[in-house]
Symmetry: C2
Subunit: 208 residues, 2 copies
Amino acid sequence: MPTPRAYHHGNLRQTLLNAAVQLAEEVGAEHLSLRELARRVGVAPSAPYRHFASRKALLTAVAEEATERLRIGMVTGAAAHRQQGLEQLQALGEAYLDWAEQHPMHFRVVSARDQIDYAAASGMAQRNQELRDLTLQALELAQQQGAAQRCDPQTLAVLARATVYGLARMQTDGHFAQWGLDPATGWQSARELLGVFVGLLRPATQKG
Amino acid sequence: MPTPRAYHHGNLRQTLLNAAVQLAEEVGAEHLSLRELARRVGVAPSAPYRHFASRKALLTAVAEEATERLRIGMVTGAAAHRQQGLEQLQALGEAYLDWAEQHPMHFRVVSARDQIDYAAASGMAQRNQELRDLTLQALELAQQQGAAQRCDPQTLAVLARATVYGLARMQTDGHFAQWGLDPATGWQSARELLGVFVGLLRPATQKG
DNA sequence: ACCTGAACACCGTTCAAGT
DNA sequence: ACCTGAACACCGTTCAAGT
């Protein structure tokens, strides 16, 4: 049975990770302090260094967990729309936006990358590759079905990601208010704007 | 004639701003230290507080300067393409990307907004409003000329900004490498991808 | 193996005191 | 009016020492 201080004997690492997520969501990842974290968990300021080489290494571990959640969301989203390219593309984009909505701190840390050591996060790079492949496959299927055929699918994949990334960041960074959109419904607006983008790819015969 | 220490008598404020830009470009705005800044300028750690209420206030002043540069660039870009809606839209987007390319630190500080006090930066908000109006006017002109007529111009304006913002951040945040794009030519790629987006808005008769 | 406690070299910010 | 110098309450990180 776990005592209140069970983490002092085996699972301090995961305890620190969980507390780090909570603290970062309160004050922002850029203001996360290892000393404050240690204080909350009830250990000495130096204790985290048995489990993480640095503050950056801890945040990188948080980012790895976050990327796995994103991967699960996008794989699930794609699986729900087999055989329909543009619907699958939209589902992938919506899964990305849903993830950013539910974990804005994770989204910021993972995407801005200035608080983490991306080069050392092999799991993240691997998962990201999987997500790019999913997007590309959806687009190639869509093109077989007539969408934006005069464009290179690789090019469209980057453009689609830029769109969804730009929308997520505008909401997260607080830009939407100035564009006449209510921040409270910003994520819903982002999903609708994604729909407009996907609509621009649709074959001319299906337009209107 | 200005002596080496002339800034000690009248223009320490601007000297601090200039040195702040240089230091932030070296170490990243999030790691800019007021003490290091004071050290470089040759004043006491408390001296900057005569001119800026806080570290955040200083970075906000830097962001105001940066936004004025963006405004000049975009106004110039739009002026070069009168009477052609989509060309004007593209010129506006390219001016935005040029600015982000030439001042990536400025771009990050202005857009992420977590290091500045945007609510207190009335000049920034005003200039941003001007830039949104420019974009909207270009799109309305483009629609009179047949582009994407079934879409609300306000909606297209936000989508266009999300595209260009997403592209600029992907390059700045180092995402392009994983999408098979050379980071060295990333800004050129961004401009080309902007062109693909604008092409998606083009009337069907002009396509191909 | 895992954690403590003291230490080092930093921070942002405040404030009395100098000119 | 503008700047200095000392001070306060913090940081991240290291390292000898404890269990």
